[in-house]
């Protein structure tokens, strides 16, 4: 039999233990601790909340509005409403139209303003105040990288929207982040064979590049792939992101000896630089005995609409186009078109696919725990969401699928067929090694998944 004799040391130990117990939040001592704090924002009750972080103000507000329409449609289909959309064509049959893991899907929205700090703030608010368990959307790589980092720290999944810079799944890749959209390397790899076939291997290219991360990676990728097929790069000129009039950058092209102008611009930059190039009659010029050509490596439907007739004959690439002829695409266009009266843009399609892919991963994993979702998405092969057969590569969380090479149509019949598909480049041709130097090389690492809490 032992007897308890209080002394200074045992009193101190007891005091510390008691203090810690009193100081700990009551939720740690509750019965639901394991269920609610195994991971951040574990759904309570009968619903689960997703956070849609899209540009609702600023220059990409129209693109953000289109993303939001697609996200709302995805939620509708997940909850068993509407015509079911791509749940009918998706190769995985885990989704039943009864929410996710039996919980009704609800959503909150945030405004990225296409500014990294604003996007982080709105994502943070959705995670901390609204209990969002997954963040999806966005129209810029700067935003994607910033929000992806935040989601990694917070322990929620980030399903990127439109982000095209190599870095998102390159040097800035994160275990909790996934990109369905294609990237600058893929654009270059898809465009190069078409450019060679249509323009020849003996060309001199002049690059105008938006002076920020996406522009640099786009230029780097296109220069590498065109030089590999024999093109010469005459000059690469960086243009300030805030530029509105590109005449002073276009005029040096006229007498540079270049016979191809590559516009590594997006959004308003691209609309203005292409319009300016057309004003200077570049497409009617003959240089080095060849017709002068313009290439816009990354197209979007909204940019095409903004550029109007100026895009006629101009080659570029896209992640998706509603004219794609496969069952998943047809179903998505039908669902989206009947509900909203217009075909979906490629940013809308990527957001729709991402929401469904997240939901499906939860179902297959049997949990909302981010680490379970990560494991379910890594190496996942699927079809029926509009892009054909697709792989979510485990090494970098990048989707590998066919890439579209498109051209501004000469005689569009409606506002929606201003771009025509020239080539569907097979996924194998745009696939690269996970340690490709353009993607951070051997240094790049996903790290480990973070469940948060």
């Amino acid at each position: 039999m032992s007897s308890f004799t209080p002394n200074r040391r045992s009193l101190l130990k007891g005091g510390v233990a008691l203090g810690a117990g009193v100081a700990a939040p009551t939720i740690f001592t509750g019965q639901s601790w394991a269920a609610s704090h195994a991971y951040t924002n574990a759904p309570q009750g009968g619903s689960v909340t997703l956070g849609f972080n899209v540009p609702q103000t600023g220059p990409y507000a129209d693109e953000g509005a289109d993303e939001l329409l697609a996200q709302q449609l995805a939620v509708e289909h997940l909850n068993g409403m509407g015509d079911g959309g791509c749940l009918n064509t998706f190769s995985s049959k885990a989704l039943k139209g009864n929410g996710i893991l039996g919980k009704k899907v609800e959503f909150v929205t945030g405004d990225t303003q296409t500014k990294s700090d604003a996007a982080r703030a709105s994502a943070k608010s959705m995670i901390e105040k609204d209990g969002a368990i997954m963040i999806n959307g966005g129209s810029s790589s700067g935003v994607a990288v910033a929000v992806q980092g935040l989601c990694q720290e917070a322990g929620v999944i980030f399903m990127a929207g439109l982000t095209h810079a190599n870095d998102t799944t390159g040097k800035d890749r994160k275990a909790n982040g996934f990109r369905h959209f294609f990237n600058a390397y893929m654009s270059a790899a898809a465009l190069a064979p078409v450019l060679e076939a249509e323009l020849g291997a003996d060309r001199r290219a002049y690059h105008l590049t938006a002076d920020y991360n996406w522009g640099w990676t786009q230029e780097e990728s296109i220069v590498a792939s065109t030089q590999a097929m024999g093109w010469e790069t005459v000059n690469t000129v960086k243009t300030p992101l805030a530029s509105t009039d590109f005449s002073s950058y276009i005029t040096p092209v006229l007498n540079s000896g270049a016979d191809v102008l590559v516009l590594n611009h997006y959004g308003g930059n691209m609309v203005n630089s292409l319009s300016n190039a057309i004003q200077f009659d570049l497409l009617n010029k003959q240089v080095n005995g060849k017709d002068f050509k313009i290439v816009v490596p990354l197209y979007s439907e909204l940019m095409a609409a903004g550029a109007g007739e100026n895009i006629k004959g101009v080659l570029g690439s896209m992640n998706y186009n509603w004219q794609l002829d496969n069952e998943g695409s047809k179903q998505f266009v039908k669902s989206f078109g009947e509900k909203y009266g217009k075909p979906p843009s490629n940013s809308a399609q990527t957001c729709y696919a991402q929401v469904l892919l997240y939901a499906d991963a939860c179902e297959r994993a049997g949990t909302f725990n981010p680490c379970g979702v990560v494991a379910a998405l890594e190496g996942f092969e699927f079809d029926g969401l509009g892009n054909g057969k697709t792989l979510y590569r485990a090494d970098d969380h990048q989707c590998f699928k066919d890439v579209l090479v498109v051209r501004g149509a000469q005689n569009p019949t409606t506002a929606y067929d201003t771009l025509e598909i020239v080539n569907v480049t097979p996924a194998e041709q745009v696939t690269y090694a996970p340690n490709n130097p353009l993607f951070g090389g051997d240094e790049a690492s996903l790290g480990t998944c973070n469940p948060g809490a």
Binding site: Y60, S248, P252
Partner: protein
């Protein structure tokens, strides 16, 4: 040499827009003493006058073409503009094609009305308030105006092309004895420069050669004395606000074919235009015009490859660098008057 001449032409073109906006800003500052940060928004509204007229002219009847299919496989709805039905396809198409020049006639009364409403409805309440208050309220107004435009027209740029006859480029080098294809320049940009020159000339002529203009100039020099002579100078200054709004609006209408209008275009020009006014000299109309063209040319030349190779980033800072040098050497700006904004 050819490259420099091309950049000078680009600079004159940019300078035309800067000069027109800065001219209006200076008129408002010189007459009413108001620092109007909503002036860029007036430029944007002018551009959207052209967009609006284009949309009005392309209002269409809808018929079904069973032969063609839409994106859902349904019979295609074909839109035929009313002007085609009324005037025939050829004439109707020409009317639509000329929507930007026609928008000048539409924009003048609209912009004067907008200017009048802005001055009477809001800005006159801030005449006796500090410049900081004026800047805040007019900047707020600019944001409200651009959000209203975004609500109705969206955030995406909208093409307002020039008529075919003044689209494309001409070889102006040939006219001045240069080799063929040495100096090829877009026709519409030359039209814009000529238009800006005409508007600036008209404003100066109005102020110089009319009785109304003489009173305005007198009021700009000594408002109190003009008032003591029994002249209602406030009423005339309100009218000048309308004129300044119309000048900015016309600059916007004609700028549409150069860069497609979007709701944010006013903000893109606002800061640069203020720098132009400060460099030219607060309250000096010739100074605003001179500085507009000067800074436009310097900005273009600084964007050339040799300039950016020699001094990386010079294209982004040249205007502000010139502003610093001018203000250090001539604190009142190039043509500023003593006593303006110096109290």
């Amino acid at each position: 040499m050819d490259a420099i001449l091309l950049q000078i032409l680009n600079g004159l073109d940019k300078g035309s827009a800067y000069a027109l906006i800065a001219l209006g800003l200076t008129l408002i500052f010189g007459t009413l003493g108001v620092v109007n940060f909503a002036h860029g928004a007036l430029f944007m509204i002018g551009a959207f006058c052209a967009v609006t007229l284009q949309k009005v002219l392309t209002l269409s009847t809808i018929s079904i073409d069973p032969e063609k299919k839409d994106f859902l496989g349904q019979p295609l709805k074909v839109e035929t503009p009313y002007v085609h039905n009324w005037f025939g396809e050829a004439t109707g198409s020409s009317i639509i094609e000329w929507s930007v020049p026609l928008a000048i006639l539409f924009a003048i009364p609209v912009m004067m009305a907008v200017g009048y409403a802005m001055e009477r409805g809001l800005i006159r309440h801030f005449y006796n308030r500090p410049h900081a208050d004026q800047i805040l309220v007019t900047f707020g107004l600019a944001i409200v105006l651009q959000e209203i435009v975004k609500y109705f027209f969206g955030a995406n740029p909208i093409q307002t092309p020039a008529p075919d006859t003044v689209s494309g480029s001409i070889d102006i080098g040939l006219m001045f004895g240069f080799a063929e294809n040495a100096i090829i320049y877009p026709i519409w940009r030359l039209v814009y420069f000529a238009f800006a020159f005409a508007i600036i000339g008209a404003v100066f002529a109005f102020l110089r050669f009319t009785t109304f203009g003489m009173v305005i100039r007198a009021g700009m020099s000594d408002r109190e004395t003009v008032g003591l002579l029994g002249i209602n100078i406030d009423k005339r200054f309100t009218f000048m606000f309308g004129i300044a709004a119309a000048v900015a609006g016309l600059a916007g209408v004609m700028y549409g074919p150069i860069n497609p209008p979007n709701y944010h275009m006013g903000m893109d020009f606002l800061v640069l235009s203020f720098v132009v006014v400060v460099v030219g000299g607060m309250g000096s109309l010739p100074g605003a015009v001179l500085a507009g063209f000067l800074l436009g040319i310097l900005e273009s030349i600084a964007s050339t490859a040799w300039a950016t190779t020699m001094i990386p980033g010079i294209n982004q800072i040249i205007i502000y660098l010139v502003a610093i040098i001018v203000l250090l050497t001539r604190p009142r700006g190039l043509m500023g008057r003593k006593g303006v904004m110096e109290e």
